[in-house]
């Protein structure tokens, strides 16, 4: 499994956010994308997921361009953006069932996923009663039930408290150990064993 980007560039309303960004990650590796706000971190992730076409350069999954359908890239990808894709009027379990439909499922049961993110006791409660941290953890649970090797996460630790961040780091390390891959943006460092981590700086220096 290989995920690589070649000379990516992105222009947003006349401004070149970044140019010739290239990297390559394979199984068991985490790419940490760092940069000031507005350096184009989210835009880069949009290019990597295929939500937006790069203005130049290409993104490859197992050496196939992710935008053409043969690469079947989407059934290997789990994406988590800034917002939590949850509906307030639904319970935690209902939301998880919905999120389960979006990506190929693995064998973990929903209930066990909720328990690992310490939400087992509130599975039948409406999301609108949840704190931001709890909602973020529910999204992390949706990653656990997906059979997708590649996780692309936009600031997964946002709104998480210290325990939440520790939980995320365990899940990430577990995922990397099982041969998964993670690309994530973050403002603060991720304390996982450094040999897993590759960093990519975005912003003025790379110009």
């Amino acid at each position: 499994m290989l995920f690589s980007a070649h000379q990516l560039s992105c222009i947003r309303s006349h401004k070149t956010l970044f140019e010739n960004v290239s990297f390559q990650i394979s199984a068991g590796q985490l790419l940490l994308v760092e940069g000031k706000n507005g350096a184009g971190k989210t835009s880069l992730l949009k290019l990597l997921t295929g939500l937006r076409r790069p203005d130049s350069g290409e993104v490859h999954w197992n050496n196939l361009n992710i935008l053409n359908s043969e690469s079947d890239f989407r059934s290997h990808l789990a994406w988590l953006g800034h917002q939590n894709p949850l509906k307030e009027e639904q319970t935690a379990l209902e939301n998880l069932i919905l999120l389960g439909h979006i990506r190929p499922r693995n064998t973990n049961s929903m209930i066990s996923a909720l328990k690992t993110v310490h939400l087992g006791h509130v599975k039948h409660k409406f999301i609108k009663t949840f704190s931001a941290g709890m909602k973020r953890r529910l999204c992390l649970a949706s990653l656990l039930i997906a059979d997708t090797p590649l996780w692309i996460l936009d600031e997964p630790q946002a709104a998480l408290d210290k325990a939440g961040i520790a939980l995320f780091e365990d899940l990430a390390e577990q995922h990397l150990k099982n041969g998964g891959m993670i690309i994530m943006t973050s403002h603060h460092s991720v304390n996982i064993a450094p040999e897993y981590i590759q960093t990519l700086k975005l912003g003025q220096e790379s110009q």
């Binding site: 222009i11 947003r12 309303s13 006349h14 076409r53 130049s56």
Partner: protein
């Protein structure tokens, strides 16, 4: 190899298109006048007056070409929309947004001249005739496309959204036209509509064809002018505009000293 072609399409086209359009404009303007002047002269002076409508039929020489052009421009836009969406050619999107104002103007001219033609013949400024009503709807579709493009800031997304709407429009236009024609027969006895071209005598037909060709060259002229303007405005930050501007500045310095 196809990556090179893709590059060429994406970036090379403006560098090649902009100066070429500049050179073409005078020629196209000349061709436009070449057809306009005889067309106008024959239409207004030599063509015999219509036995039924008298001199007012001469309005046909602007009304009919304008109505034809409003459809012609939309079809050209639809083709460009397919090119823009299927082969992702940005130049095609620039062509669509440059063509929308002209298309809308032709539709507006067709409506206004239709009203001025209908008043003496029909006694009313506005007639719910099938052709005029479809022309009015076409004008609204043009305005919708223009509004959509201007509502979206990011121009690449705006171009894509506009191309989709143009294609949705081209699928709906025949449906709208024939349902309006059907609706028209429902409400009005099928009287001879004033806009059916009167029995075309050869002397009347020639100016009409001349004017129609003149309008096509006019469309091309305005399109080239507008595309050059949109290209410079949108690509201000890209390399090819920088080259053109710096060349211009260099020339100006040469002239001064």
């Amino acid at each position: 190899m196809n990556i090179l072609i893709k590059w060429y399409y994406r970036l090379g086209a403006p560098l090649w298109f902009y100066p070429l359009a500049g050179k073409l404009i005078p020629w196209v303007a000349a061709l436009f006048l070449l057809f306009l002047i005889p067309g106008l002269y024959m239409g207004l002076v030599t063509a015999p007056a219509d036995y039924q409508q008298g001199e007012s039929f001469r309005i046909m020489y602007v009304h009919v070409p304008a109505a034809w052009m409003s459809m012609f421009v939309y079809l050209a836009m639809a083709i460009a929309a397919v090119v823009a969406l299927v082969w992702r050619v940005r130049m095609a999107e620039i062509m669509i947004i440059s063509a929308v104002p002209i298309g809308a103007s032709f539709a507006l001219i067709a409506l206004l001249t239709g009203a001025f033609w209908g008043k003496p013949m029909w006694g009313a400024w506005w007639v719910w005739d099938a052709r005029l009503t479809s022309e009015l709807i076409l004008l609204f579709i043009y305005l919708g496309i223009l509004a959509l493009y201007n509502a979206i800031e990011d121009k690449t997304t705006a171009g894509k959204a506009m191309s989709i709407l143009t294609l949705v429009g081209v699928v709906n236009l025949p449906i709208i036209h024939y349902s309006v024609v059907w609706w028209n027969t429902l409400h009005q006895a099928a009287t001879v509509s004033v806009f059916d071209k009167p029995s075309i005598h050869i002397d009347m037909l020639i100016p009409l064809l001349l004017m129609a060709t003149a309008f096509k060259f006019l469309f091309l002229l305005i399109l080239l002018l507008k595309m050059r303007a949109n290209l410079i405005e949108q690509d201000v930050h890209s390399g090819w505009v920088k080259k053109i501007i710096l060349d211009k500045q260099a020339e100006m310095e040469k002239e001064h000293d």
